[in-house]
Amino acid sequence: MRDADSLLRVRGAFAVDTAAVPWRRLLTVLVVSGFFYGAVMGSSNLRLLQMLFSGLKVPVLLLGAAVCCLPSFFVVNTLLGLRDDFAAACRGILAAQATVGVVLLGLAPITAVVYASTGDYAFAVTWNGGMFLVAALGGQLTLIRHYRPLVTRDPKHKIGRASWLVLYVFVTIQLAWVLRPFIGYANLPTRFFRADTWDNAYVVVVQTVLRALGI
């Protein structure tokens, strides 16, 4: 909890310009908080197995997309001449991901109350989407704080950060689609993946929009 507090305030070991990067502590905060929110997220039907699955999936979602995008982030930073700041940039990104987890953790009790008040699956999906959006904004705040001295030193960091965000969001949406279900539909048995998990989120969205437009 002390680490989570320091992370949110960007203080102590999680301060922006500290020499040592607390990788392990950041990862621990991310995994623990992500697991906890995931467990709450999967508790809408009070199925223990779904809670466990969702608890495992949220840290995978937060870390998996980041790991997937890291090689291109490395090359983009190198091409922009920002390699010397790469460790600091990575710290910012990991801190942002951990912040997403901590914000989700803070929102977990509200989600639990929402589940207790309604059994509507569509509402639960929308609600969790909103929670992830809020948490993502919190993560962005941390990222901006970590990037501020970097951008002051070299404005090209803005390009590096923007490239990260574009690719990260692109991959995260698909990863979230693959890792469904996070909540679990009451009428279906509990499964780690859906049967149609190997669909493509973007194709589904485009086809849904086209169908809605009658094209």
Binding site: C68, L70, S72, R83, V171, Q174, V178, T197, W198, V206
Partner: protein, 288 residues
Amino acid sequence: MKELIRDIDVLLRGGFTRREDLLEGRVCVPSSTLVRGGIVLGCLAGACSGLYGGLRPGVHASFWQLIATSAKVPLLFLLTLMVTVPSLYVFSALSGSRLAFKETLRLLLGAIAVNLALLASFGPVIAFFTVSTNSYPFMVLLNVLFFAVAGLGGLVFLRRALDLVFEGYAGEPAVESGTIAKEDEPEPADPPPLPVPGATEDGQPLESTREVSPEIPVWAQRLRPRPVERSEVVFRAWIVIYGVVGAQMGWILRPFIGSPDQPFELFREREHSFFWGVFKALGELFAG
């Protein structure tokens, strides 16, 4: 291998295209290093693109596609360069580039290596989408998108280098800007000697000197291409030539991904063009 990785790292950091070297028309890295780097990176990128062929839905899944694409991606870039390097060199020489043929080749190989490094870095993302989607048109468009973005990275590298090359060529911006800036001022009693046309300040002959002459009206001097404009002309000519040839070369070497409806084949029949293929994939994606 370690040495090769180090060289690629130096290239990405701009160590082989330092300002002082380019100003003197030098690109200090052997072509063989860049070719080897390009092949390794291209194979990596190709393996990720060809993964879909091995995992594609249906009865035609074949890991031969992965091997073929691993070979095709570096081949695509190197063959395109082989075809275009003479014309690219002619354009740059005509525009007064200080780079000799070998240096031009090295610079282009460097841009390709940067392009392939960026493409290889997208590899995990392509691999992730490969295992998480069955949509062939989506994979085609995703690969086209990443090829385009990686190409953009290579172009940025090339553009920066060309600006320095032509800045080095000009060597006279101070004279030019000075002449224009001081147009309203009274002429000095004893103006400094102007360079001899067709020669450097040392009197050495130059291939194409463009020193500002007092006889040329100011409006005409303003119309003269500046070094940055020169580099832009060469850059645009290179983009058009390399882009068109590269796109068509990619079309000739297809399939890179492997359609789920067709068995593995090393090359497809000659038909249509690259742009037809992209529009077809877009149509299929939207048609569902």
